[in-house]
C-alpha cells in the first residue's frame, strides 16, 4: 500500500449530530462487520458513551475501500471525543489527519461546536468536507442548513454532501469524497521516525496500547523507541492497525495510522501529543503542538463509608491506567475523613470519572463542589495557586487574587436571547459580542469566569433555551477577581467539605442556596440545628432545622418488637451512610444536593 492509497480523516460534529451513527455506517459499509454483527455505535464501546450518546475515549479504525474507479484504499477513521473538555485530544487527533468530514444536522443546523470544530480543523489546514446528515428527518431543512454552511462556516454549500447515516443513504458518496477530496498523507519513509501519539488505551494484558500517526520513518517490532517528552525508551512488541479488533502488522510506515505495544505499563506513562522516535536514530525536534495538559476543575472525592478508603484508592489506581488526564492526591477532611483531591479536564470529565467509579468499580462516593485553580498574590510578594478551599490563604495577607476566565460561544435561536443574556450576566459574564450569522439565529460570545460554568451552567443554558442553545468555550486568561472563602457551619461547626472559594458578589447567593439545600436534606434531630454560611467571622446566610419533639411509638408489645428492631437495623445501616458533624448526622445526599442546579 503506497501513501497515495491512504486517507486519514476524522468526523467532527456538534453533539448529537450523528457522528457515531455515520462512523458505524462507514464500518458496516466497509464490510468490517456483517449486518448480523452490526451493533449501533460500535465505536462508542463504553456504557456511559452509549447512554450519553457522546464519545469520550476516541477510537481508530481502518476501513478498506475500493473506489468507483476500482482503486483500493486504506481509510483511517480517527474518532474524536465530542466535548470541549477534551479539546486537546481533539486537536491531536486532527493533527493526525489530512481531512475531516464536518457533519451538520439537517434539522438543527450549525451549532457552537460545529464552529469550534471547524476552526480547529482549519488550524491544522485540513481539507473539510461538509456533510449534511439526518436528511430523512421530517424537520430537515437542507436549504437553511446550506445557507448556514455558507454564512456561518464560510464553506461552499454546493460541496456539501447529503446523507442519512441512519438510513444509509448517501454513504457511498461520503466514501468517494474521502478518497477524492481529502489528500493522501505526505511523509518520508527514509527520514528518522516521527510518530504522533494521539490516543492511548489500557489493556490489562498488554499495558498501554498507543495510537499514533507515523509522519516520517517507520515503526517495526523490535525497534527501541523513545518517548520524547521524558526520554523513556521501550522495546516495541507489536505494531498494527485497528479493524474492530487489533490486527498486527509487520510495520507502520510513513503516512499510516495504527497502534504500538511496547511494554508501557499504563497510559499515565505516556502523553497525548508526544512524539515517538527511534532511540538509535532520533529526530532532532518533536512534532509541534505538544502540551502537557493540566486539569482545570478540581473536586475532592470521599468514600461514603470510611472503611472503603482502601477500596477507593485501588479503584482510582485502576481507573487511572486508562485515563491519563485524571490526577489525584490524598486529601483529608474533618467532616468526610480520608479521600482524594482530584483534577479533571472539565465538568464532563469529572462526571464521567464519578459515574465510572460508581458503575464499573462499585464505589459509593461523595464529591465536593468543583473548584477551579485560583491565584493569590500575597503582601510579601509570594504567589500561591489554590484549588482546594482548605488552602485559602489568610485574607489579611492577600494582596490580590485572580481566577481563570473563558471565552464562551453560545449559538441560539433569537427568541431565547433575553434569557441567555440574563444567565450569562448573572454568571458574571462580560464583554458580550453578538452576531447574527443567519436570520433568526444569534451567536453570543462572553468572557466569563470558568468557575461560573464548571457548575451547572450548561444545564441552565439547556433549560432556558429549551434545549436549543449550544455552547463551547476556550480558556483565555487569569483575571483579577475579589475572591473570598465561604464556609458552611452546622451548629457552629465548620463543614470543611462544603467550603468554597467564590467571588464576593456571588457569595451570598451561594450561601443562601447551600443553607436552603441542607435544610431540606438534613433530617430533623432531637435538637435545633442552625446552618450558616460565613465569610471569615461574618454570617451571610442561615437556615434552621427545627427539632422533632416526638417520635415515640405508643405501643410496644410482643408483636411489635421484631418489626421495631428491623426498622432500627435499617436506620442504623442508613446512619453508616451519614456523616457526623459534631452530633449532627448529614446524609450523603446533602453533599450531593448542594451541587445540583437550582430549579427556578
Amino acid at each position: 500500500m503506497t501513501m497515495q492509497q491512504i486517507r486519514n480523516f476524522s468526523i467532527i460534529a456538534h453533539i448529537d449530530h450523528g457522528k457515531s451513527t455515520l462512523a458505524d455506517r462507514l464500518i458496516q459499509h466497509a464490510g468490517l462487520v456483517n449486518d448480523r454483527e452490526f451493533r449501533d455505535q460500535i465505536l462508542d464501546n463504553m456504557d456511559i458513551e452509549r447512554e450519553r450518546g457522546i464519545t469520550i475515549k476516541s477510537q481508530t479504525v481502518l476501513l478498506p475501500y475500493t473506489s468507483r474507479s476500482g482503486e483500493v484504499f486504506d481509510l483511517n477513521l480517527i474518532d474524536t471525543p465530542g466535548h470541549a473538555d477534551f479539546s486537546y485530544e481533539v486537536s491531536r487527533a486532527l493533527a493526525s489527519c489530512e481531512g475531516v468530514l464536518l457533519l451538520v444536522d439537517a434539522s438543527q443546523g450549525v451549532q457552537a461546536q460545529t464552529i469550534a470544530n471547524l476552526y480547529a480543523a482549519m488550524e491544522h489546514d485540513l481539507s473539510i468536507v461538509p456533510v449534511i446528515n439526518k436528511i430523512d428527518l421530517p424537520s430537515a431543512d437542507i436549504g437553511r442548513v446550506k445557507e448556514q454552511i455558507e454564512h456561518d462556516l464560510g464553506l461552499e454549500p454546493d460541496h456539501a454532501l447529503l446523507c442519512s447515516a441512519k438510513e444509509g443513504t448517501g454513504v457511498e458518496d461520503v466514501f468517494e469524497a474521502i478518497v477524492n477530496r481529502i489528500p493522501p498523507p505526505s511523509g518520508n519513509a527514509e527520514k528518522p521516525l516521527a510518530a504522533l501519539i494521539f490516543d492511548a488505551h489500557y489493556d490489562p494484558f498488554r499495558g498501554a496500547i498507543v495510537s499514533c500517526r507515523v509522519f516520517d520513518g517507520a515503526l517495526r517490532p523490535g525497534d527501541i523507541i523513545r518517548l520524547m517528552f521524558n526520554g523513556a525508551t521501550h522495546k516495541v512488541e507489536e505494531v498494527g492497525v485497528f479493524r474492530l479488533n487489533r490486527e498486527s502488522r509487520g510495520e507502520l510506515s510513513a503516512g499510516s495510522v495504527g497502534y504500538v505495544i511496547a511494554g508501557i505499563k499504563s497510559v499515565a506513562d505516556i502523553r497525548i501529543g508526544d512524539t515517538i522516535t527511534l532511540d538509535s536514530n532520533p529526530v532532532s525536534s518533536p512534532l509541534p503542538g505538544f502540551k502537557n495538559i493540566k486539569p482545570v476543575v478540581f473536586s475532592s472525592l470521599y468514600p461514603i463509608s470510611s472503611d472503603d478508603y482502601p477500596s477507593l484508592l485501588d479503584s482510582l489506581e485502576k481507573y487511572k491506567l486508562n485515563d491519563a488526564a485524571l490526577v489525584y492526591q490524598k486529601d483529608t477532611s474533618v467532616a468526610l475523613g480520608q479521600g482524594f483531591r482530584c483534577g479533571f479536564l472539565g465538568l464532563l470529565h469529572l462526571e464521567i470519572v464519578q459515574e465510572r467509579l460508581e458503575r464499573e468499580f462499585d464505589q459509593s462516593i461523595i464529591m465536593t463542589a468543583p473548584s477551579v485553580q485560583y491565584q493569590f498574590t500575597l503582601l510579601d510578594g509570594a504567589t500561591l495557586t489554590v484549588e482546594n478551599p482548605q488552602y485559602y490563604p489568610d485574607p489579611t495577607v492577600i494582596k490580590s487574587s485572580a481566577e481563570p476566565f473563558i471565552r464562551a460561544a453560545i449559538i441560539l435561536p433569537e427568541r431565547y436571547m433575553g434569557a441567555v443574556m440574563k444567565l450569562c450576566l448573572d454568571r458574571r459574564g462580560a464583554n458580550p459580542r453578538i452576531t447574527y450569522p443567519t436570520p433568526g439565529r444569534v451567536e453570543i460570545t462572553f468572557d466569563m469566569p470558568l468557575a461560573e460554568v464548571v457548575f451547572d451552567f450548561y444545564d441552565r443554558l439547556k433549560t432556558v433555551t429549551q434545549g436549543y442553545g449550544s455552547f463551547d468555550y476556550e480558556l483565555i486568561e487569569y483575571r483579577q477577581s475579589d475572591l473570598v472563602k465561604l464556609d458552611i457551619l452546622v451548629n457552629s461547626e465548620r463543614v470543611d467539605a462544603l467550603s468554597i472559594i467564590v467571588h464576593r458578589e456571588r457569595a451570598r447567593e451561594w450561601g443562601v442556596q447551600v443553607c436552603d439545600r441542607l435544610k431540606e436534606e438534613i433530617p430533623r434531630h432531637s435538637f435545633k440545628i442552625a446552618i450558616q454560611g460565613a465569610i471569615g467571622g461574618k454570617i451571610i446566610s442561615r437556615s434552621t432545622i427545627s427539632p422533632f419533639r416526638k417520635d415515640v411509638t405508643a405501643k410496644c408489645y410482643g408483636g411489635d418488637i421484631t418489626r421495631k428492631r428491623k426498622l432500627l437495623e435499617k436506620q442504623k445501616k442508613g446512619k453508616k451512610r451519614m456523616k457526623m458533624v459534631g452530633s449532627v448526622m448529614i446524609p450523603q445526599s446533602a453533599f450531593v444536593s448542594v451541587l445540583k442546579a437550582k430549579d427556578e
Binding site: G558, I561, T562, R565
Partner: protein
C-alpha cells in the same frame, strides 16, 4: 431474683363484637369461630407443654377476651392448668371491654383465678368513644368500673387514649380525673396512633381525619406524665403508669426484658432462648394447621448477640428503669453520643444505667439510633 425470669403465657383471643376504628390487632367481629379456635388452642398447648414450665404471668388478650362465654373461659383455663404449671401468686390478667361485662361474668373470671382486669375504658367523653368506634359509652364505662371493684378485683388496669382530634386537654383531664376516682392500680395512656391497616389510618389518608400534630402530642404526653405522677403514679414505661412497683404489669415487662414468653392463638408472638416466633394471622389457617398436627407458626428468627443487644437498648430506653450499660456489647454505644445525650437532657446515667428523661421518652424511637455507633 430467679423468679423474675419465670416465663409468661399469652393467649390471643381474636374475637370482638365490633371492630374499633383505631385497632390493628388481629381479630374478627364474629363469635362463629370460637369453638374451633378454642379446640385449636388446646391443641397448641400440647405442642409446648414440655417446653415451658412455671409461668408466673398469664395474659388473656385480644380481641375482646370477655366475649368468651363463661363455659368457654372455664374450659380454656382448665386446659392451661392441666398442661402447664403456674407459680403461686402469678399475675393473671384478662382484657375486658365495658360493653358485655356483667357481674356474673366477673365472678366467674375471679373464680378461675384471674386476679387482674385490664379494662378498655379509653375515654369518658362519648365524642371520643364515637371517634374511636368503641361499642360502649361513658355510662357503661363507669358502671363496669364499679362492677370490677365491687367484685373484689384488687388489681385494676385502665386503658385510656389521648391525642384525639375530638379531645381537648381539658377533656382529657376530665377523663383522668374520673379514672382516678377508682384509683386503678395501673393506667395505660396510649397516644392516638394511626396504625397502618386500621380504618382510621385509611380515613386519615383520605383526609377525613387527622392527627393533632407533633406539638400538641408532646404537650399531651408531658402533661399526662406530670399529672399522673402528681397523683402518685409511676411513669414506668412510655405508655404505662403504676400506683406502685408491685402493680407494674409483670407480663408486659417480660416483653421488654427478653424474659421468655409463650404466645398462643393466631398472630401471637413467643420468645425463648434467643428465638422469636409468631403464629399465622388467620383463624382459619391457625385451626387447620393445628388440626393437621402442625405448629401454626408463620415465621421465626434466631437473634444474634448484636440483635439482642439492639433490642435490649431499644426496649430498655422505653422504660424508666433504662438499660444496664454493662449488659450491652462493648461496641454498641458510642461514648461521645452518650455524653451528648446526657448534655441535652434526654438521658441520665445512674448506677451504670442509661435512663431516659421525660423528654427522652418523647424521642425514644431515635434514642438507640443516636447512641449506636
Amino acid at each position: 431474683m430467679n423468679k423474675e425470669k419465670q416465663p409468661g403465657l399469652y393467649i390471643h383471643i381474636p374475637f370482638c363484637r365490633s371492630k374499633c376504628l383505631y385497632c390493628d390487632f388481629y381479630s374478627v367481629a364474629s363469635r362463629a369461630a370460637i369453638p374451633a379456635w378454642l379446640k385449636a388452642v388446646q391443641r397448641e398447648v400440647l405442642l409446648y407443654k414440655d417446653r415451658f414450665h412455671d409461668f408466673d404471668s398469664l395474659y388473656l388478650g385480644g380481641g375482646t377476651p370477655t366475649i368468651l362465654g363463661e363455659r368457654e373461659l372455664a374450659g380454656l383455663l382448665e386446659c392451661l392448668h392441666k398442661h402447664f404449671t403456674f407459680c403461686p401468686e402469678s399475675e393473671m390478667t384478662i382484657e375486658a371491654n365495658p360493653d358485655g361485662l356483667s357481674r356474673d361474668k366477673l365472678k366467674v373470671i375471679g373464680s378461675l383465678g384471674i386476679n387482674r382486669i385490664s379494662l378498655g375504658v379509653q375515654s369518658f367523653d362519648d365524642r371520643d368513644l364515637k371517634y374511636l368506634g368503641r361499642s360502649h359509652d361513658s355510662r357503661q364505662a363507669l358502671k363496669s368500673l364499679d362492677m370490677v371493684r365491687s367484685c373484689g378485683f384488687a388489681d385494676l388496669g385502665a386503658d385510656l387514649m389521648y391525642g384525639l382530634e375530638t379531645q381537648s386537654i381539658q377533656g382529657w383531664r376530665r377523663t383522668l380525673e374520673k379514672i382516678l376516682e377508682f384509683r386503678p392500680e395501673h393506667i395505660s395512656c396510649y397516644q392516638m396512633t394511626f396504625e397502618k391497616g386500621a380504618p382510621l389510618w385509611k380515613m386519615k389518608a383520605a383526609g377525613l381525619v387527622r392527627s393533632i400534630g407533633e406539638k400538641l402530642e408532646s404537650a399531651f404526653f408531658i402533661w399526662t406524665s406530670r399529672y399522673l405522677e402528681k397523683h402518685a403514679y409511676q411513669h414506668y414505661e412510655i405508655s404505662n403508669f403504676a400506683r406502685s412497683p408491685e402493680f407494674m404489669c409483670r407480663h408486659n415487662r417480660k416483653y421488654w426484658s427478653h424474659i421468655p414468653y409463650l404466645g398462643l392463638g393466631p398472630s401471637a408472638h413467643s420468645f425463648q432462648a434467643g428465638s422469636r416466633w409468631w403464629n399465622v394471622r388467620s383463624i382459619r389457617k391457625y385451626c387447620r394447621l393445628l388440626a393437621e398436627g402442625k405448629a401454626p407458626v408463620e415465621g421465626a428468627e434466631v437473634l444474634s448477640e448484636e440483635q439482642l443487644d439492639l433490642e435490649t437498648l431499644d426496649l430498655g430506653l422505653r422504660t424508666s428503669a433504662g438499660v444496664d450499660l454493662h449488659a450491652l456489647g462493648d461496641r454498641l454505644i458510642m461514648d461521645e453520643a452518650l455524653a451528648e445525650l446526657q448534655k441535652s437532657g434526654l438521658v441520665k446515667v445512674t448506677n451504670g444505667r442509661i435512663q431516659p428523661s421525660l423528654k427522652g421518652f418523647l424521642v425514644a424511637d431515635s434514642l438507640p439510633l443516636m447512641l449506636c455507633s
